[in-house]
């Protein structure tokens, strides 16, 4: 999640009040922003993805000032007309929307330039989804002439100087040469043409979604007036982005001017900073929060969160992108009311608790095995093909791989025994006997299920000491079935992981539940285990079904 770093003095100036450190910390986290640290003169906060409008110092300070009751209510932003035009060519199908504005009379210094860069960068990664949905550019106004064309071109035919470059290059080389080109070229896969902003004097302003031109798109301390463009694939997203940027610039002291965006079939004037009106269902909010707020009280709380209030309707600031439903208003009311002020209550509602029946069964099985002095282990469900197949000397591979595991564990286990052999191998320095069991989930392919994978709870038991043999593991199995009041049989079979003639199929009520045997010395050797081991593994869910059927 994105964090922003704020200069504490700038912040306090914007907020209009200096709070003691502890109160500042507390209020920041109660606003719904996660305070990471306050160090020296810097505040670092994490902004949740639903509030990109707080990704600027100005936006954050605006919300905070209102929250602590200094500058509450809807902030009004006046937009003057500039009459300047941006003409959108129908060729920009890959990024068809833009919203633009002009902001004049800014006073910039290093700190403010850093802030402007931070807004653009943080917004582009979160709200703009790493420039996929939208990207933004800011240009000194004096460098450019209107009307501006937003138009797609074959990059081979365009030359310009990308930001930070000394000389002009062919635009076709930008995805390979420029750092931002390399970072975002995956967004442009299959593009033959790229969108450009080109001004009236035919100067290239930027190549999207990569970089501004070094000639026209570089803001410095001398810059007073700027042109702001936002482009992207989603009109609403682009417009809200522009609102967030221009209101932040206005909070720096700038004056906002509108731009006429001319499409082939319509003309749109941006930015649109008039608030959106939404009728408030007061009883819904009260019910959800367990409060009894009156009209007048809720108006005060809304104003604490930067909203306006007008006869039962709320006025939502144009920079807020996250109000999809009444429920989003309810959360802001809760924040304004103070999460700390909600008193815990346990309602007087009777419901009946119930443990999952298989879990009850598994617990009983555990108790039987603990009574037989076995030690329960707990392994991960993710393992390796080497452990599950190769070391077990199994020919065919039926394990299910993961697509993108970061660690070495990249297969779902299809049986538990390899996990237990690993435990035994890793514990050879500890005292014997080492008699273990594990109940856990295994995974096999099965087209009939919703996911194509069948998950089964298995039980595996493993005995390991100097004199261990088939009889001893059979005795454990006997004890288990006798505890369940079931008859079972072991039938001869073959399995590459076990000694021939010492491996059997566990059968009960005409169903094959699992296998039991002595591990082949070659398997023990492949693990590096220098002690004989015997074991069994069975389908515990199948056993549960048998028991359930019998007890009915």
């Amino acid at each position: 999640m994105p964090t922003i770093t704020i200069n504490k003095q700038v912040f306090e100036q914007l907020v209009g009040k200096i709070l003691p450190l502890e109160e500042l910390k507390d209020r920041i986290s109660m606003l719904g922003t996660d305070l990471e640290k306050i160090e020296n003169n810097e505040i670092t906060v994490e902004i949740f993805p639903n509030r990109p409008d707080m990704l600027s110092e100005q936006g954050f300070a605006r919300a905070f000032s209102s929250f602590i009751g200094i500058k509450t209510g809807l902030q009004k932003y006046h937009v003057k007309e500039s009459g300047c035009k941006v003409i959108v060519d129908s060729s920009v199908t890959m990024r068809p929307y833009t919203a633009c504005a002009i902001v004049k009379n800014l006073t910039l210094d290093d700190e403010r330039i850093r802030q402007i860069m931070q807004i653009q960068e943080k917004l582009a990664t979160t709200h703009g989804r790493n420039r996929k949905k939208s990207a933004y550019g800011i240009y000194p106004l004096e460098n450019i002439s209107f009307p501006i064309n937003y138009i797609a071109h074959d990059p081979k035919n365009i030359k310009f100087k990308p930001l930070g470059f000394e000389t002009e290059v062919c635009a076709a080389a930008v995805p390979e040469l420029h750092p931002k080109g390399k970072a975002y070229k995956h967004l442009t896969e299959g593009w033959k043409e790229y969108p450009f902003f080109i001004d009236a004097k035919n100067k290239v302003m930027c190549m999207l979604p990569f970089t501004n031109s070094d000639d026209t798109g570089k803001v410095d301390e001398k810059t007073k007036n700027v042109f702001v463009e936002c482009t992207g694939t989603d009109l609403r997203n682009v417009e809200v982005a522009l609102n967030m940027i221009t209101t932040a610039l206005a909070d720096m002291g700038g004056e906002i001017y509108s731009v006429e965006v001319v499409y082939s079939d319509k003309m749109v004037i941006t930015p649109k900073l008039q608030p959106k009106k939404m009728l408030v269902d007061l009883s819904y909010i009260n019910r959800l929060l367990g409060l009894l707020l009156k009209d007048t009280e809720i108006a005060v709380l809304f104003e604490r969160m930067g909203y306006g209030w007008e006869n039962g309707s709320v006025l939502i600031p144009a920079y807020r992108a996250d109000i999809l439903h009444q429920v989003d208003l309810a959360e802001d009311i809760a924040i304004a009311y103070g999460y700390e002020n909600f008193k815990e209550t346990i309602p007087n509602v009777a419901t009946i608790g119930e443990e999952d029946p298989f879990e009850v069964f598994a617990r009983k099985i555990r108790e039987v095995l603990v009574g037989l002095r076995l030690l329960e282990t707990k392994n991960y469900h993710l393992s390796t093909k080497e452990d599950l197949v190769e070391k077990m000397q199994i020919g065919e591979n039926k394990t299910l791989p993961l697509k993108n595991a970061l660690g070495e564990h990249n297969h779902l286990r299809n049986w538990i025994i390899p996990n237990l052999l690993r435990v035994l191998t890793d514990n050879q320095h500890h005292q014997y006997p080492q008699n273990l069991f594990e109940i856990g989930r295994t995974f096999v392919a099965n087209k009939k299920t919703e996911t194509g994978i069948e998950e089964k709870e298995h039980l595996a038991v493993m005995l390991c000491h100097e004199k261990v043999d088939f009889t001893e593991i059979r005795q454990i199995l006997d004890a288990l079935f006798s505890a369940l009041g079931l008859e079972y049989a072991v039938k001869e079979m073959e399995h590459p992981s076990f000694i021939r003639g010492r491996i059997g199929m566990i059968c009960c009520r005409n169903q094959e539940l699992g296998l039991i045997g002595e591990f082949a010395p070659s398997v023990l050797a492949s693990w590096g285990l220098l002690m004989p081991a015997v074991g069994f593994e069975l389908d515990l869910e199948m056993l549960f079904e048998i028991v359930k059927g019998k007890e009915k």
């Binding site: 986290s29 606003l31 719904g32 996660d34 993805p49 509030r51 979160t126 989804r129 989603d234 959800l288 929060l289 367990g290 999809l324 439903h325 429920v327 309810a330 959360e331 809760a334 924040i335 999460y339 909600f342 008193k343 815990e344 209550t345 346990i346 309602p347 419901t351 608790g353 443990e355 999952d356 298989f358 879990e359 555990r366 095995l369 603990v370 002095r373 030690l375 329960e376 282990t377 707990k378 991960y380 469900h381 993710l382 299910l400 697509k403 970061l406 660690g407 779902l412 435990v423 890793d426 514990n427 500890h430 008699n435 273990l436 995974f443 919703e450 996911t451 194509g452 994978i453 998950e455």
Partner: protein, 505 residues
């Protein structure tokens, strides 16, 4: 006196066998010989006796003379030179003849010639090979007992220090495998006053180590005395069967929710993106859905019929009164298989099965969830989440705090705090902190909130407040057992599993 009786009762059979011998013999080898035990057995008994301050064991270094192979033969059959001398007479005889007559080896015979010459007992001629005859001196000493012979009559091993005629010892030592002088440890015991006291006791009573079925059958136990054990000493360790400590804690957690009237939810680990994310209104381009956080599995899921409703809600809010996320919902994306990233997927599935008449209803799950991370001391790729939902038309935010407060009280945390947070599927969303009674600070344990109408309505069929939480338990569980490296929870170190104390809450 009682002290002595007590000691007698506890004496081991070996000690009983050794003790009477100590009246006459105080040196290890002779004790062993007279007690008819091996020296190892005697040593064990002596050490036990010394522990009880009945005797004191001394050991000193000494040299002792041992009779070797040839020495033993000569002791029985006489020295070869004596036998050689006795085979001679006054006329010269060939060496072969003498050797045969004296039953010696050629090598011995040659050595005898030299030895006897030095004693002036023989005369040698080199004519017609080597021949020998006896001298007057020879005749004189032939029937005497020589000092060498006398020496061999001693009992061996013999203490070197005790041997009077050192020149004889040194001489015999030079000869082939006759005697040797070895460095040895001499172990002797002295009886303590307590030991003298003890020897006055009757040790002859038969003591029994073990009661046998035979004794019981025959009634012979009536005549037996049972040896007393030292019941205060440590015994070798045995190991109990045990549940995994993590499961003990999880069972406790489950019991809390059962006591609070919650029903358990279980379900698959492999889920579709539909159930894990889309049904929870997580937009398909949400940063958390990026590959690196989630394990994806090969294959495509079948979708339940309600997927179209969910798609609509994402795209335009459907009939929920929401504006929706306003993007084109991808069917391909929703069919992706993954390992569940949270147990909230179970809550979504439970909601889709609930009917209006089932309300109010409360559910919980204690289940594994997966995050695509490499293992390190604070990250696991599999861990547990505690999930809960309350589906109740009258539920509100205060109840949510109430349920969590109750739960954490039973987990040993007296206070719970809510802070604003953000999750795509809840509104209001909150972060749950509990107050750590020892560290005296708030610690963050997980998320909670009220499910958005965009989640509830498509799944349940109508809107209803659904309180929901998903809490991480690894931290609390690890802390109980003072585990600082989270990997130690599932290390399966057998010593750790055996020795870990129980969950005693």
């Amino acid at each position: 006196m009682d002290d002595i009786k007590n000691i007698v009762a506890k004496l081991h059979p070996l000690e009983r066998q050794v003790l009477p011998v100590l009246q006459q013999h105080l040196e290890l080898s002779s004790i062993a010989k007279n007690a008819k035990l091996t020296e190892v057995e005697v040593m064990r008994a002596l050490q036990w006796l010394e522990n009880k301050e009945i005797i004191k064991i001394q050991s000193e270094k000494r040299k002792s003379i041992h009779l070797e192979k040839n020495g033993q033969t000569y002791k029985k059959e006489g020295l070869p030179e004596k036998r050689f001398l006795k085979a001679l007479d006054e006329s010269f005889k060939g060496l072969n003849v003498i050797t045969k007559k004296a039953k010696l080896s050629r090598e011995e015979a040659t050595a005898c010639v030299g030895l006897l010459k030095r004693k002036n007992a023989v005369e040698i001629s080199q004519q017609e090979g080597l021949s020998v005859k006896i001298t007057e001196e020879g005749k004189k000493i032939r029937n005497l007992e020589w000092p060498e012979e006398y020496f061999l009559l001693h009992v061996f091993p013999k203490e070197y220090e005790e041997a009077k005629d050192r020149t004889i010892v040194e001489e015999l030592r030079k000869r082939k495998e006759l005697i040797s002088v070895r460095d040895e440890k001499k172990i002797t015991v002295t009886l303590s006053p307590r030991g003298h006291e003890l020897l006055k006791e009757d040790l002859s009573a038969e003591v029994v180590n073990r009661l046998t079925p035979g004794m019981l059958r025959m009634g012979s136990w009536k005549e037996k005395t049972f040896r007393s054990y030292d019941v205060e000493i440590n015994v070798p360790k045995i190991f109990q069967g045990k549940k995994h400590f993590d499961n003990e804690a999880l069972e406790y957690i489950k019991q809390i929710w059962l006591d609070l009237g919650f029903k358990e939810m279980t379900g698959n680990y492999v889920q579709s993106a539909f159930w894990d994310l889309d049904a929870l209104f997580v937009p398909q381009d949400h940063p958390a859905r990026e590959m690196q956080d989630t394990f994806y599995v090969e294959g495509k899921a079948k979708l339940p019929p309600l997927w179209k409703k969910v798609k609509e809600v994402h795209e335009n809010g459907g009939d929920t009164g929401s504006a929706g996320w306003r993007y084109a919902f991808s069917e391909e994306e929703t069919k992706q298989l993954l390992l569940r990233t949270h147990t909230t997927v179970l809550s979504a599935q439970t909601l889709s099965r609930l009917k209006k008449e089932d309300l109010p209803a409360k559910f919980f799950a204690v289940g594994r969830v997966f995050r695509n991370e490499a293992l390190d001391w604070k990250h696991l790729f599999e861990f547990y989440q505690v999930e809960g939902i309350v589906v109740d038309p009258h539920a509100n935010l205060k109840h949510l705090k109430g349920y969590l407060t109750q739960f954490y009280k039973k987990m040993g945390y007296s206070a719970v705090r809510m802070r604003p947070a953000h999750f795509p599927y809840t509104e209001p969303s909150l972060e749950v902190d509990v107050f750590h009674p020892i560290k005296k600070q708030w610690i963050e344990l997980g998320g909670a909130g009220i499910f958005r109408p965009e989640v509830v309505k498509p799944l349940l069929g109508f809107d209803c407040p659904v309180l929901a939480w998903g809490q991480g338990m690894g931290r609390i569980i690890g802390e109980y057992w003072k585990i600082t490296d989270i990997r130690d929870l599932y290390k399966n170190d057998i010593k750790q599993l055996r020795e870990m104390k129980l969950w005693l809450r």
